[in-house]
Amino acid sequence: MRQIAFRMTAAAVLTGLVMLVAPAQSQAQSWPQRPVRLIVPFGPGAGADIGARLLSERLPARWGGKAVVIENRPGGDGLLAIQSFLSANDDHTFLFTPAGNFTVHPFQYDKLPYTNADLVPVARVSNTILGVGVPATMNVGTIADWVARAKAEPGKFNAAVVPGITEFTFDYFVKTAGLTLTKVPYRDIVQAATDVGEGRLQIYMASYAILQPQTEAGRIKTIVVNGRERAPILPNIPTAREAGFPALEVEGLVGLFGSRTLPKELVEKIGADVVAATK
């Protein structure tokens, strides 16, 4: 009798579990029902925007032909894009961004319109290559050479900085290397590279996509990359750690973030689809 009662209870529990899981699985199978939006916190042509557009070309084939639409919301240190993402509050709108765009917000702003729980990590898509560029006219071979020059002329060197994780990391480098220099804040990341290339400033840490045109034109020398490993497209440029300046080490995590209302099964499905689309 007791065994029968147990079997009936177990069956009831299992039925309940199936009823709970089934709608989420069904939702994952039928998603997407309409076009999917990827909100990017940069203008067209930025590294993350290019990555998002690659996904917008490849994902419809996995999502029943539903379009993937890119919306550029540059400005406000990423907050405009985050607000746009939050206001949508649905399971068809995602934020496509470098994590470094928001991980420093708590140290920049007194108030934030979101909590960490509002940005649900769905899939890591790529690594932005970050690098440190100096004017080619300085004729320095390594970052150690550059530091020696900066120490020999304290207070005479200027650094281009853009608010965010690169400035944070660069400040740490300046402190640990014992440097005295002037920071020149920029909002226009391309103009900063142009000014370094023309020798008006002596150093700039930025995504390699920004340094690349000036580097290829021979005006900037990219002396280290900031990731844990060398960038495959720049095999001859050492990492900051290899060059003896681990304070400059930071990963350019770029990926997709979804709404906190997304069921876990749907997060897993979308994450798997996105990663598969990048291969």
């Binding site: 994590a99 991980t103 708590p106 140290f107 769905v122 899939a123 994780i165 944070f168 990963e251 897993e268």
Partner: protein
């Protein structure tokens, strides 16, 4: 995959917090 990405982001948050501490910068808000 989402869990690995979440772990990488958490690691970056912790790295930023350590750097901030070294620089004497306190968080203005806890998101």
């Amino acid at each position: 995959m989402p869990a690995e990405f979440a772990a990488a982001i958490q690691a970056q948050r912790e790295q930023i917090a350590e750097i901030a501490q070294e620089l004497g910068i306190k968080p203005k808000v806890q998101p």
